[in-house]
Subunit: 372 residues, 2 copies
């Protein structure tokens, strides 16, 4: 194989692929990239056995034969420091010769026979999202997924009900639900389908989407019972999905509230951050809601450290209430929306509360209080 | 004590002081800042028992009495998130009340009786450097100091010979020497003086100098037999110095060369970085110097990884030579100067070589080859 391309294109592709490699002492080839030509392009593949990634680079193929696998780290380090314009790659006897300007490297390869086969997808049914919408939608739910604990919560539920697309994540302390309506996405799916995509895959796909934002316009998602496939055009990624039944969460979403707040989101974030510093080990921050004066007081105290207090003005309707939250979870909810004002709805100090933008109703953040 | 100042001023001072605090499980008060008023300003002090730091903040003193010590981390975190304009500090019963806008914190203090006394300097003799020159001069030598090994090499020699000021650092593999002439600094010293300033102190002082670059114009250095004092005006720092005799290094500096090179520094840095990636565990990079063609070849090889090669054109005088270096040490030397071209002088593959700017003769980098 011999292939000539631009240093910048190869740099970006190798850097994206390197992050998908695995670290496995008993299977060191997972740290390698599979390098070959396919359909007139260079194809670089990486896998950690849970996620498989293929990235394509345009260029000029001078010879088509031979493939190899080489250390992703070595190739990436070599390219990172390179400031030349063009680079050539040549595979011979399993080794990869890289030449660019006055620089030449011969990187030792490992035969492709030892490289795991990256599965392919068979279905032709997809959901297609604009890349910016994709980033916003998955970004709003991803931090609510559980890390550890019940396996089926360690991911994001992707659920097409024949009409809407819902993304849901919960760690049982808080829950995020994003609803995309028919004009927010395209699909050739007719039947209902749902799958739990592992948290790590969602994080990886979000990172890639951020990097490809300028280049790729859309993301196509293909779902099969045991795997999910994300296609960005010049890059695609396949992942296993999580087993288990996702909990029937809809019943816990509160629809009516005894106490309702409308506050500046920015001021509330600042107050939660600063006052939360003084919260104890369970990160509890007390909210004292006073509808009489439209005042919200935040209080936290940790013995040995001290106490913090702040007071905000906003719009409050309904009954007075004292309620405590994990201030980090409260911050996540406030940061997951982007409106100037934030709506918060409460019932009592032991029932789930709701955080949402007063304008954009597609996203809900449900948060359980801490019972002290 | 009650003191009112700008959030920005206090933020900067506390952030500088926090980095000078110590982490010591048996002496947790080292993680605290001593807060008091002095000469119409707020004085914040921190120490890790090796370095003591005082930083001064201008503002309005409303009450002068009482001092306390509070957790640097807690105060710093509180201020970091604050976007208000003004802040008030009030000490009562050892606790510190911080108020700013709608935010209020009561930080628990520890009595100042447990806080170590930060030593003071008695001498009035100083060396005064412009802050930019200070950063360049110490920055050029600091990465040659040893980490571990012979204790007297774990620092920078500061030596005034009655006329010039020399800064020297070596880890016995490479050596940096910076010479400041009479018009590069001011002094009221008449006698010779020399001291070894610990590496950690130099790193800390350099970091502070970078932060204060816009505000402080000069640094005054006061030297006593057992301690050294750096005065930036609004901030000062005192440190113990290292015992032991600094090695008599001058004899090893080569003055004549059998092989002389003049190359583009930027190209050489790029080639050393890229080719050095393929060096073995001792980081050895081979230089093949060919005066006939004015060619410099760089080669490195590591079994299991591969090999790298590059070739540069420049000016070469004298005898051909093959010589190997630790490529990271070679890079340090090339990065310690800032000229477009670099001069390198060699004698044989076993003798110290010299790297310097062809224009600025105040700085020398001596590097020992690796004998393979």
């Amino acid at each position: 194989m011999k292939f000539i391309t631009l240093v910048e294109s190869l740099k970006k592709a190798v850097s994206l692929a390197e992050k998908a490699t695995g670290r496995n002492l008993t299977l060191p080839i997972l740290g390698n990239l599979l390098i070959q030509t396919e359909k007139g392009q260079l194809k670089i593949s990486a896998t950690d056995l849970e996620i498989g990634l293929n990235v394509y680079v345009m260029g000029k193929i001078e010879e088509d034969e031979e493939k190899t696998t080489v250390s992703a780290k070595t190739l990436n380090n070599f390219l990172t420091n390179l400031n030349e314009e063009k680079v050539s790659l040549e595979v011979k006897n399993n080794n990869l010769k890289v030449k660019s300007g006055v620089f030449e490297a011969l990187i030792q390869g490992i035969s492709i026979d030892d490289f795991p086969i990256i599965p392919q997808i068979k279905t032709e049914k997809y959901l297609e999202l604009n890349i910016d919408n994709f980033i916003v939608a998955f970004g709003q739910v991803v931090n609510s997924a559980a890390i550890g604990g019940r396996p089926e919560l360690n991911g994001v539920l992707i659920k097409f009900n024949g009409e809407n697309l819902k993304l849901v994540a919960t760690d049982s302390y808080r829950l995020s639900e994003k609803t995309l309506k028919a004009d927010d996405f395209k699909t050739n799916l007719k039947d209902k389908i749902s799958v739990i995509c592992p948290l790590k895959t969602v994080q990886e796909v979000l990172r890639i989407a951020q990097e490809l934002k300028g280049e790729a316009a859309t993301v196509k998602i293909y779902i099969e019972p045991s795997q999910i496939f994300f296609d960005f055009g010049s890059l695609n990624l396949i992942s296993r999905v999580l087993d288990g039944n996702y909990p029937d969460y809809e019943a816990i979403i509160p629809r009516e509230f005894k106490t309702k707040l409308l506050f500046s989101r920015k001021s509330l974030i600042e107050a939660v951050k600063i006052t939360g510093l003084f919260s104890s080990r369970i990160n509890d921050l007390k909210l004292k809601i006073d509808p009489e004066d439209d005042k919200l007081k935040l209080e936290a105290e940790e013995s040995g450290l001290g106490q913090g207090r702040s007071e905000l003005k906003g719009k409050i309707e309904g009954e007075p209430l004292e309620i405590s939250f994990n201030y980090r979870y409260l911050l996540d909810g406030l940061n997951n929306i982007s409106s100037n004002e934030v709506f918060m709805g409460f019932n009592d100090d032991n029932s789930p509360s709701l955080i949402k933008s007063p304008e954009d109703l597609s996203y809900l953040y449900i948060l359980m209080p801490i019972k002290i």
